[in-house]
Symmetry: C2
Subunit: 168 residues, 2 copies
Amino acid sequence: MTRKQTSEWSAACRSFIEAGGHTTQLFGLGRILGQLYGLLYLSPRPLCLDEMVHELKVSKASVSTTVRQLERWTAVKKVWVRGDRRDFYEAETDFNLLLKQGVLATLRKKLETAGVQIAKVETALQAAHANGSRNPDSEIIVARLKKAKQFHGQIQGLLGNPLIEHLL
Amino acid sequence: MTRKQTSEWSAACRSFIEAGGHTTQLFGLGRILGQLYGLLYLSPRPLCLDEMVHELKVSKASVSTTVRQLERWTAVKKVWVRGDRRDFYEAETDFNLLLKQGVLATLRKKLETAGVQIAKVETALQAAHANGSRNPDSEIIVARLKKAKQFHGQIQGLLGNPLIEHLL
DNA sequence: AACTGTATTCAGTTTTCACTGAACGATTTT
DNA sequence: AAAATCGTTCAGTGAAAACTGAATACAGTT
């Protein structure tokens, strides 16, 4: 990537990087995220910011923020290069690790906030009940909320299940 | 919902519906999607479009498109009401079924298109190789692409794994 | 201390996307 | 056949998100 290379090879690499961008965009993450990870994934050596800027033809600001986002997800890590004060990054190539620490972790967090929402509704419901309010459909509503809560707990348990980690 | 009811109960329902909107928004899906499903989920009887419009205070266009989106995910289904030519919808209350047929199915589809991307890169890579192009980093690139492809296959297998369905 | 090379932040711009209003088409009722 | 009732489609709007250029901050060098 950093050296000049035959057009065929670089074409294949560009194709991979572009595919990465498409994929992340497909999942609602940005375009650059996938491109950047793809670039680092194929690179045989760590790259500094300006190299990434040059390869992807995007602004330095985008690279700076996106690479740190990838770092938070443990998808890339910063590496030291002796005698160079620039920041170099390389990709974490273990996808399984990445899936566990990155994707599943954020999924759990979102599930958590969803649980908070359910809890809120529960208090509202208890308030209605304690208040002596009567409603012909009360049983149905209570039952369905209960079911929703159970499902939430089930999914949380599933994501915490060591079996999942074992499958990866 | 359709009948008048005490303020406490409707407050709890509105809270649930709002929570649904928050949750779907959290996952990158629209706000209305979650609200609409929440409304139908709590409703003891099927609702027609105008009832949903009235409850959620959104446009009929939004309800029309969103409810069909939910239908594609088998999250709701259209039901016939005798002597009424309007379309009525009710929620699928089995979350497990919903997860399998809805979420996992779309996930598989996205994985599929990602696989197409990888295949494209592979042909580009073979072209480079057949062309006799030389590159010092070729082994690394080939190896990493292979690894990526393996991972893709692994995930596809995991989503097709009957064990997953069993866990739900 | 001034300067150079680096990364980060921030205000502004472009793009994307959920959502709407109004027009349309289809079907039923008068 | 005219009117009424529904559902869908489509161009447009507003807001949020992605992305950029320029300013800033920071560390090392002269």
